[in-house]
Symmetry: C2
DNA sequence: TATATATATGAACATATACTCATATATAAC
DNA sequence: GTTATATATGAGTATATGTTCATATATATA
């Protein structure tokens, strides 16, 4: 099999890493709930924690995870940070999967 | 907030579980490589193991994982099992993410 | 029946993950 | 400065995950 033919099928390490990290972000129920909450409107950390009945620290840890992957962004207003989604394409993947799961 | 309004935003447990499991399947580099290999044509277990330089047992374990989620199927020919993808929609999600990762 | 080949399975292990707790940091108001 | 509020962070911990190794199972052939 030629190198050209192989590369059609085999994914390079960089792509493999990015794709797996992206799906890893979407593979945890807590992160799914957070992303689903942030897809349409921004929310503060405490707001997310209260509405989803989660520990503030747990939410903050997960938001850092999502921010590192640039899936969410935030703006500051005083001591409050308002988070919102920052990757329409990945949010779209999430919604496709949700629709698929609901049949 | 009304129940109707809430359910617009909050996902039910069943959906949450299915979605997270689906993305979990796509979140491991080995499974991504296997699914990417199976998307276009069927392959035997040994064929997958050799082409992707993986342990036969590791491939078999991952195929069981993917089969439980009905992402792959197989047909038998003698002692050989030929696996292929069995969920076009999820394969489509994978390819969207790959394209997204490659920019 | 015995042997060979292909695949599946279970245990063991190392690593990754998600959470909680305690505490640190940052901003605002006093 | 002090105090209050909102969020971030690091350590510790329990569980989940992916792999390897050894072995079991299934099918085909002699």
């Amino acid at each position: 099999m030629s190198i050209e033919k192989r590369t059609q099928h085999e994914l390079d390490d960089e792509t493999l890493f990015v794709v797996s990290q992206t799906f890893k972000a979407l593979s945890d129920p807590t992160r799914i709930r957070i992303l689903n909450m942030l897809c349409c409107e921004e929310h503060s950390v405490n707001d997310i924690a209260e509405k989803l009945d989660l520990n503030q620290s747990a939410v903050s840890h997960q938001l850092r995870f999502l921010k590192n992957l640039r899936l969410v962004k935030f703006r500051r207003e005083g001591t409050t940070l308002y988070y919102s989604s920052d990757d329409d394409h990945i949010i779209n993947l999430l919604h496709q999967a949700i629709d698929h799961a609901k049949h």
